[in-house]
Each structure stands twice: as structure tokens, then as C-alpha cells.
Symmetry: C2
Subunit: 387 residues, 2 copies
């Protein structure tokens, strides 16, 4: 492994030993988990950092994506000289259960039928994802995590880790996240699910054709139009109103016949924001499985850490031995700062050490994925304590 | 006419004399306008109030809807003893051009073909709607309006009126509205349009079957699934996050087999917010034409009153002789208070008399349609000046 090589990660897939017991009551087997590691576990086994990805993310956190060739989705946070550093940390990032980048999900083969699970795949929860990650860490010989780090849905996992495995986490970094989905969060996801399910090509989930739907390379005829609409709606929630205004405003799209842009008085993408959104929708269907989108949004909507602990969020952390670092962004209206504050209050009530900062950014929820020297400084400082 | 009768309005349709010249460059003919009036024009012709409806509204502002039997959509504002009062005012409310409640729109018959216009209907603007209203007022013998009143898209018309016909408006009431659509506003509408157009039943707009699509009674096979998704997405923007939390929170939907509600670990509408949104989507397709939805959202996205006046909003009002009353709601994130403030600043710059108030409400954008004694007091006081 060379840390100067952009593709310094080791990407692998394991099949977990034994079935996974799910919050929904069933057992899932087999469970494949695709993951990537960076760096080396030290002799004490004390330098492992688990990085958790968001709704549509993958295991390639810091190395080029093997298919698209794009840089890792969080190379700003994870990599040589970054807060999560393969020179110092043994870094693990796994594709979440239910996804479509190599871990078991609705596009995987159901051993009982030899065909993709589709909607016969069991509904999973954030905690189920975390349990699968714990089994992966067992396999890798990681007992206790130096830290678990995540943003957005990754932050939900980072919160769920110390609540589910209080003995196995020394620190949790939770960025631009929440301890439960609000009615508005659920509403946006429901619009997306309905858009997918309204597409006649969805066919009750049975659109895979011959093969598995991993990375969209399924050879079937997926509900691309519905998934694109779902992605467009979701994408609006990732950006701030001010950021959209700054980036696009009411500027018109240039065209060959109208270099300066002009209203078409038709239904073309006249405005740059329309063109951008359409592109976001279309690009997404090439890389993501529609059924996985249903399952993972469902897991996020079901997430309510307080409800899992008798209705009191503080109870989730009473057994925890972890330190916590919370970061929110002032223009994030998907998981706005009060959601982080509520977690901080619960951690205080549970007597858990916690630091919290709200950062300023024009970029809304997406800010956690973008260049943010302050975020990096906060996370770096936090992770170096007790390292 | 009896003002104690809930159905005291007179609903009629006229065909405007001569073609309507459109902002898009073409001429539209014939132009039917369906409207309802309440009260009587006084001898001086000085008591006319034009009420303008929002995106999916209709002319039945204060009387029961002839098909659904539901009360007028703004009976809280318009009616005996209300701020707009048929005892004192001659009230006119017209279905906007491009809609589907009797005024000409894509579901109307194209005289050139004898079939519905569908997407051959010209793209229209808010100003085109206003020009059609002016021709209706000519027909009704109304020269100068005592006031034009509207909320949301109705407020855009109320702003456009004094800008387009400065001699014909003495007062304008603009509630929960804006002088231009932002990138985020356009983005949400574009999601809705893409949802409609992604539905294979949309068929490029030619889904009407035999008859016209007025009120959805078209006998065709409309893109109901896509339109329902569009409505769901839009509906979220009409409500505040706090209002959604108060009304629904994470409460689960009761079912025959689960009276207290429980997670299904499936894709049923487990949460009340899901069930509510699905209902909103389904109910909407029964009453609204999908193509009209495309055309009216397009008109709103094109709306930029400053752009129509050399890039300076104040210029729009320099010839105006009207007084203005602006009302915003603190939890309205579709057209938030700063949008109203921008209008107030432009009116100040133009030397136009303006009063402005931000009201507090938990209900977001929808607040303007709901019970609001303060809003009524403000509008009532404003309309009585100079009456």
C-alpha cells in the first residue's frame, strides 16, 4: 500500500458468519458487506476509525471509485494528512446493509429463489446497519473503535453505535445529523418513494431482469424516471435557499441558438437550476438501485433513537463510555442545528462528554461533504485527544 | 341574490372579445374566462374588488364549489361581514387563464383542431392572466378597482395589476407572496413538472380522450400518479416544519389490525404524515388537470416583476397610484418575509404608500387560507380607507 497512491484503499467483500437478526424480527442470511480499509490496525488494536456513509454513499470514502473513477466521497476528511489519517488510523468504511454497492440489499440474490430479493428483502433499520458493521469489525479483529465518524445518515449510525455497543466506542463524531427523522424529513422521503413506486417500470420492485442491481449494472429495466424525480426532490433539501440563489438565481441556461439564454416559452430547462436538477436526477439512476433507495430512506424514517430507549434520548447514552463531537451547519434545513442541540442536551443529561459547534456555510446540508477547514480542525482536534 | 345563502355568488363564463396578445408573442383566441361575482357595482363604479386565486384555486372564492360542495376557498376573507364584503363591495373572482375550472387552458378545445389544446396551448405569464382579468372587468363595466387582493400566486397578480394597469387600481393587497420566483421555488416546481412528464400516461400532454379536462371530468386517462407526486412535493412547501411536527410528528397511522399504530416494517403508510400526503396527492388529481399544473407553475416560475421593468422592482410601481398592503407569515418558507420586505423597499423607493406586517402563525405558507383574525383586521382596515 502506498499512501501517495490515490487508490490506496483495499476494497473487499465478506460474507458475515451466521444470520443477522433484524429489528423487524427476521433473520437475514447470507449478509455480504463490501468495505474498504486504509492504514493498519496497531498492535494494541486501539486506532480503528469507522467511517459511516450517507444515504447514497459507498465504501470508497477516500479512494477513487472503481467504476466512475471519481475521488472518494470524503477525501477532504479521510486521507494522508487529513483528520482521519491512514498514517495513524486503521480506517474502515463499509457499504451499508440495504445498499447496492456490494453489500446485501434488495438487488442481491435471494438464496431461496436464486433471483434478486427485490421487495422480499426485509425492511432494515439504522441499528441493523450498525450490527452488520459490528460483525465486520469482529472479522477484522477490531474490538473497540477509537472513533466512529459520520455525516447525515452516517451521523445516525455514529449515534447508534455507542447506544448499541457502548463498550466498543471511545468517541463518536456526528455531523449534520439528527437523532430522529421529523415529519418533514419523512414527508420528503415519502415523496421520493411514491415517485419510484408510481413509475410503471418499478413493477412492484421486480425490474432487475437477469442480474443483480449492484451499481445499476443490472441489465434490467429500472424505474429510472421515478428515481430521477425522487433524487431531484431530495437534492433540493441538501442545498440552502441562499446557496441556490448564489449558484443559480434566476439565471437562464445558454443554448446553441440562445447563447445568453432566453425564456423558451415552452417546457425546456430554461433556468440553470432546472438543468442542474434534471442532470442530478439522470446521473443518479446510473449509480443507484431504486429499491435500495426505498429501503434506505425507510431505515432513516424509522430512525428515532429516543423511541428505541423508552422515549428518552438520554437513556440511549447512559451506558456509553464515549466522548461525542457534534457539528451542525447554520444553513442546513434538512437537519437543522436544533436537532444537534437536542442530542447535546440528551448527552449532557446522560453525563457524556460532548463538544458541539455550529459552523457557518452557505451550502446547506451538503456542507459536510465540501471543503470546510473549520470542520476539519474541529474533527482533527477531537480525534487526537486520547489517541 | 341573498347574502345569507352560502351560494350567493353568480357563476358565469364569458368569451373575451378579440384575441389576447400574450407575453410569449402569440395571440390566443378564443379566451374563455369563468368567474363569479358577489354584491353589486355601485353607481360610481367605485366599489369593485378583484380577488385573485392561487396555483390550484378557482373562481368560487366565497360560495360553495358547485361540484365538491365545499365552502369557498377564502370564505374567511370574502363574504358578509368579512373584509371583502358583498354588502359593500362588488367582488369579482375569475379562474386564471391556463387553469381548468372553466377558463381557457390546455384542456380547452383548440378551435383549429377541435381537440384539446394540450401542449399546443401557449405558455402564459402572470401578466397574461392579469390582462385577461382586465378584459373581464371591461365586460363587467369596472373601470377602476377599489382593490385587488390575493395571496400566493394571487398576490403575484395583485402586484402585477398596478404595474400593468397603473390607472386602474387604487389599492393592492399582497399576502404571502413574492415579486419573483427564487431558484428554490423554481426547483420545487420543476420536480413537480418532471413528475408529471415522467408518467407514461402523460403522453406528451395528449391524455384527454374525448372531452375537455375541466375539473378532471375529461373521460381520458390522465397522468394521475405523476400529478399526485407533484402535489405531494408541493404540499410540503405549503406547511411549516413546526406545523408538520405539531400536526403529525412521528405519530403512526392507526389500522384495523394495529389500532394504536405500529411500524409495519414494510412500505405501507406507517406514519400519519405519509398517509396525509398520499391523500393530498390522490385527492388533487380528481380536481385538477395535469397540463394546467405544468402551465401555471411555468407562469409562476417566469414571474419576475423587476425583470419586466428593466431589472429594478421600484420601476414597476413608478406610474402606480395605488396604496399597498403587504402581509407575510413568519413560518412561510415558500415566500418568506424577506421577499415581502424586498417589495416594501421597492415601493418605498417608488414613493408608493405601503403598509406591511409580518404575522405569526404556525401554519407556514398555508396560513393565508386559514383563520387569522389579525390578517382579517389588517385587510379590513386597509380596504376601508378611502372606500
Amino acid at each position: 500500500m502506498s499512501t501517495t497512491d490515490q487508490r490506496f484503499g483495499l476494497a473487499r467483500t465478506i460474507t458475515l458468519p451466521g444470520p443477522l437478526r433484524l429489528d423487524g424480527g427476521g433473520l437475514l442470511s447470507p449478509v455480504d458487506i463490501a468495505y474498504e480499509t486504509y492504514g493498519t490496525l496497531n498492535a494494541e488494536g486501539s486506532n480503528a476509525v469507522l467511517v459511516c456513509h450517507a444515504l447514497t454513499g459507498d465504501q470508497h470514502v477516500a479512494s477513487d471509485h472503481p467504476i466512475t473513477g471519481k475521488p472518494g466521497w470524503w477525501a477532504r476528511m479521510v486521507g494522508p494528512g487529513k483528520p482521519v489519517d491512514p498514517e495513524r488510523h486503521f480506517i474502515v468504511c463499509a457499504n451499508v446493509l440495504g445498499s447496492c454497492m456490494g453489500s446485501s440489499g434488495p438487488a442481491s440474490l435471494n438464496p431461496a429463489t436464486g433471483a434478486p430479493w427485490a421487495m422480499a428483502f426485509p425492511v432494515i433499520t439504522i441499528r441493523d446497519m450498525v450490527r452488520a458493521q459490528a460483525m465486520l469489525l469482529d472479522h477484522l479483529g477490531v474490538g473497540v473503535l477509537h472513533a466512529v465518524v459520520g455525516g447525515s445518515m452516517g451521523g445516525m449510525q455514529a449515534l447508534s453505535w455507542p447506544a448499541t455497543f457502548p463498550e466498543r466506542v471511545r468517541a463518536a463524531v456526528v455531523i449534520a445529523s439528527t437523532a430522529r427523522h421529523t415529519a418533514q424529513n419523512i414527508a420528503f422521503h415519502e415523496v421520493g418513494r411514491q415517485a419510484v413506486m408510481a413509475d410503471p417500470k418499478w413493477r412492484g420492485g421486480d425490474y432487475y431482469g437477469g442480474g443483480q442491481g449492484v451499481n445499476g449494472q443490472n441489465g434490467g429495466d429500472p424505474p429510472a424516471a421515478g428515481l430521477a424525480v425522487a433524487r431531484m426532490a431530495a437534492h433540493i433539501t441538501y442545498l440552502s435557499e441562499a446557496g441556490l440563489t448564489e449558484k443559480f438565481g434566476r439565471r437562464l441556461q445558454a443554448r446553441p441558438d440562445r447563447p445568453d439564454g432566453a425564456k423558451s416559452f415552452g417546457f425546456d430547462a430554461d433556468f440553470q437550476i432546472e438543468s442542474y436538477l434534471r442532470h442530478q436526477g439522470i446521473a443518479f439512476v446510473d449509480r443507484f438501485d431504486a429499491n435500495s433507495y426505498l429501503y434506505i430512506t425507510r431505515a432513516m424514517d424509522y430512525f428515532d433513537l429516543a423511541e428505541e430507549h423508552g422515549g428518552h434520548l438520554a437513556n440511549a447514552f447512559r451506558a456509553s463510555k464515549a466522548r461525542f463531537c457534534l457539528v451542525s451547519f447554520d444553513t442546513d434545513w434538512l437537519y437543522p442545528t436544533p436537532e444537534s442541540r437536542a442530542i447535546v442536551h440528551a448527552l449532557n443529561a446522560a453525563g457524556a462528554p460532548v463538544s458541539f459547534v455550529e459552523l457557518s456555510s452557505p451550502f446547506g446540508h451538503d456542507a459536510f461533504l465540501l471543503e470546510s477547514p473549520e470542520m476539519n480542525r474541529v474533527v482533527d482536534g477531537f480525534l487526537r485527544v486520547g489517541a
